[in-house]
């Protein structure tokens, strides 16, 4: 008996010690966990319910089955405009932003004097980028009397009403998004610095030029970082809101009516919370599908150095 009891007692003691050790961890995440449950998980579950109701905030939600989704896909003339604007934005702004971010990261990698200053300068737009102030500035830059038109006037190019012209407005927002390349740039930079210089030296000895080195060394070794950046940027791209809200307000002709902006308008201007919840859940599914597709295909193009090791 005693021989059995001793190990079990020490097991219990180990358990207690493990719990004590973990306690401070739980204490640390406690506030976050509480806030997550209260302010993220609970509202999400509630909104899933609202998605199947008509809910105007004033009166209790009424069960509406799938009618919100039916309206969305078959009756709402603005829905497909919002989808079109968002897709256009994601498929242009995100690749361009990543290309610019990678290009600048390559330039900054070399480690010249004053590197830190450039890094800070290029990162600055991202820190302030999502802010209302930058969006307001953008309005001015692309205004009819803005700096862009003032400069083009010097070359005799007639002024363009960028923000009022359906052919132009969205591209001002794409330009704004591309300009906010700072955070993917920093991540790329960290990734580039992790690539051992021996590879490049060996390639140089074998006579490889810069393009060859970029394609056969940099891209494969950077691919996990590219994957990370791509996923994060796709998610944030689908959720773009502030810029369109401030700069164009969704006008002209709904060409900049980004999906998140449309959700906001339906929810807080028309008080159609049920319909807005349905819109939001469709957006979440679409983002999920895009992320899943990128993940699935990633095994074909992402190279993990340590796949077989460790």
């Amino acid at each position: 008996m005693a021989t059995v009891a001793i190990p079990s007692a020490s097991k219990a003691a180990r358990k207690a010690r493990a719990l004590r050790n973990n306690l401070s961890g739980y204490v640390f995440i406690g506030p976050w966990l509480l806030a997550f449950l209260l302010f993220t998980a609970a509202p999400m579950v509630t909104s899933l319910y609202f998605a199947f109701t008509n809910y105007d905030v004033f009166t209790a939600p009424q069960w509406a089955g799938l009618s919100n989704f039916e309206t969305m896909f078959t009756k709402d003339g603005r829905y497909w405009k919002a989808v079109q604007a968002t897709i256009t934005f994601v498929f242009t702004a995100i690749p361009l932003r990543l290309i610019v971010a990678l290009g600048l990261a390559m330039l900054l990698k070399a480690g010249r004097r004053g590197d830190g200053i450039y890094r800070a300068a290029y990162y600055a737009p991202s820190i302030v980028g999502g802010s209302v102030a930058i969006a307001v500035m953008w309005r001015q830059v692309f205004g009819t009397q803005g700096i862009i038109n003032a400069i083009s006037a010097l070359f005799g190019i007639p002024a363009i009403t960028f923000l009022g012209d359906p052919n132009w407005a969205i591209w001002t927002l794409v330009a704004l998004a591309v300009w906010q390349f700072g955070s993917p740039m920093l991540i790329f930079l960290a990734g580039l610095k992790n690539i051992p210089t021996e590879f490049y030296e060996a390639a140089s000895i074998d006579g490889a030029g810069p393009i060859r080195k970029f394609v056969t060394i940099t891209l494969p070794l950077l691919s996990p970082v590219i994957l990370f950046n791509l996923i994060m940027q796709i998610i944030s791209g689908f959720m773009v809101f502030t810029q369109a809200f401030i700069v164009t307000g969704g006008a002209p002709l709904d060409t900049t009516l980004f999906y998140a902006l449309y959700i906001y308008r339906r929810a807080f201007e028309n008080f159609q919370m049920g319909y807005a919840s349905a819109l939001a859940w469709v957006l979440m599914l679409v983002i999920g599908i895009f992320a899943a597709v990128v993940f699935k295909t990633s095994s074909g193009w992402v190279f993990y150095e340590n796949k077989d090791g460790n």
Partner: protein, 457 residues
């Protein structure tokens, strides 16, 4: 020994501290109103003035000028009634509605809220704002000096649920000197849209300016066009459109398209980029690009200031369609209502009464919300008025001789019609020349009918 803190203990304390800080941060964002209400002074002074301490909240929308004036009046009221403490919230028009709706859902509406004509029937219908007759009967709300014509706009189903803060009508503000320079006579009050088109083209030709500013396409014009022809945008019961003939509106849109192509009014691209929803200082007339601008009459006070006091300006009624009657109606610019959530409704009524009748308060407010509804306030203000207020008082008096009766407040769903159909799917495609006016107006009828039909009981 005792002063030493073990690493684990330190971590625990730090953890709790961080947690508390995080919670405090979360709480802080949600409760600015709580910090605004002076909890401590109330607790210490309460024993001295037993049972008479009154705490109220009031919310409104408007410009900075209005915020400043309203806050001064609140301070004046608190000075005269030391037992009353008034907390206030203000926002822009759209933010105000969002805030109020959210508070209505949470049963935490302020005691007094500013209301717009378009919303009162819905808010009263849901019981969110309460009838005011009993306070008028008890004398808390003094309406003896306010003619029925000025207050009846706040009635829903025969009950007064909102008190008008000033009277308004739509207007064209025109620059007399620019009209003269273009060789134009001042139009008569019964001018038509055909007259307007001719005038705008002349101004473009002679002075190289726009004949009018932003938003001749907005839903107010749509409503007024059909008002002039004996209808309205919505039927009286709110279950359908209030007109059967689409042609006048098709004609109006085609006219706007002609004018904007001729450069006689801003194109929609120009309007959206530069004028629509922008501050008064940026409007076409303020920047010297236009000879006239359409607006609500109370906005003349801010507009004239923005356009320059030296300008010679005149207010005209809206143009009417050929063969139509007046396109104008007298609209309460905004209201105060007492909400269901108020625990001090009598005190709230007293404040509204003060706001309406007190001469000192109205010296501060200075008709910024429109022509005051109390006769003695109007009389007391008249000698003190500047040019813009005088023009506004005279205009509202002049135009009220030839106006249409006010139509019912907007039905449920009107917001949906305007924001999701009228502007994005009718006005925009037509004025950007992506769709023919006939087709767009037919689409408006189809979609609006579907939305409004939901109001059928």
């Amino acid at each position: 020994m005792k002063t030493l803190v073990s690493r684990r203990k330190f971590l625990k304390v730090a953890g709790f501290g961080a947690g508390a800080a995080a919670l405090a941060a979360c709480g802080g964002a949600a409760a600015p109103a709580a910090t605004a209400a002076p909890a401590k002074p109330a607790a210490t002074t309460a024993p001295a003035v037993v049972n008479t301490a009154v705490n109220m909240r009031i919310a409104w929308w408007g410009s900075q000028d209005r915020h400043d004036r309203t806050i001064k009046v609140i301070e004046l009221y608190q000075k005269k009634n030391p037992n009353v403490k008034i907390a206030y919230e203000f926002a822009s028009f759209n933010d105000h509605l969002t805030k109020m709706t959210t508070q209505a859902a949470g049963n935490s509406l302020p005691d007094i809220m500013q209301q717009d004509y378009a919303w009162i029937s819905e808010w009263a219908g849901r019981g969110l704002i309460v009838p005011l007759e009993e306070y008028a009967a008890s004398g808390a709300l003094d309406l003896k000096d306010c003619a029925d014509d000025f207050t009846k706009g706040g009635k829903v189903n025969g009950k007064l649920v909102a008190l008008n803060l000033g009277s308004n009508s739509q207007t064209f503000l025109v620059d007399i000197d620019l009209f003269k320079k273009a060789g134009l006579d001042m139009p008569k009050d019964n001018w038509t849209w055909d007259d307007f088109e001719q005038i705008a083209n002349t101004i473009k030709g002679k002075a190289g300016l726009y004949g009018a500013g932003s938003s001749l396409w907005n839903e107010q014009i749509w409503k007024s066009l059909y008002l002039s022809l004996g209808g309205w945008a919505y039927s009286d019961d709110g279950t359908a459109l209030g007109y059967t003939d689409d042609k006048p509106f098709v004609d109006h849109l085609n006219r706007l398209l002609r004018l904007s192509k001729a450069g006689a009014i801003p194109s929609l691209a120009d309007d959206m980029a530069n004028y629509y929803d922008k501050s008064l200082e940026l409007q076409a007339m303020a920047t010297g690009k236009s000879a006239s601008d359409s607006m609500w009459s109370n906005q003349i006070v801010g507009s004239w200031k923005a356009y320059g006091d030296a300008k010679n300006l005149k207010m005209l009624p809206l143009p009417r369609p050929a063969g139509g009657k007046s396109s104008n109606y007298i609209k309460p610019s905004q209201f105060f209502s007492i909400t269901k959530d108020s625990k001090v409704k009598v005190e709230a009524a007293k404040f509204i009464s003060f706001f309406t009748n007190d001469l000192e308060a109205n010296d501060i407010l200075f008709a910024e919300r429109g022509v005051p509804i109390a006769a003695k306030v109007r009389d007391a203000l008249k000698p003190k008025l500047g040019k813009s207020q005088t023009e506004m008082f005279n205009y509202v008096a002049r135009v009220s001789n030839d106006v249409q009766p006010i139509r019912p407040p907007d039905p449920t769903g009107a917001n949906d019609v305007v924001k999701n159909i009228y502007v994005p799917q009718v006005i925009s495609p037509v004025l950007y020349e992506k769709m023919k006016a006939e087709d767009a107006v037919a689409l408006l009828r189809k979609e609006a009918t579907a939305i409004l039909a939901k109001n059928k009981k």
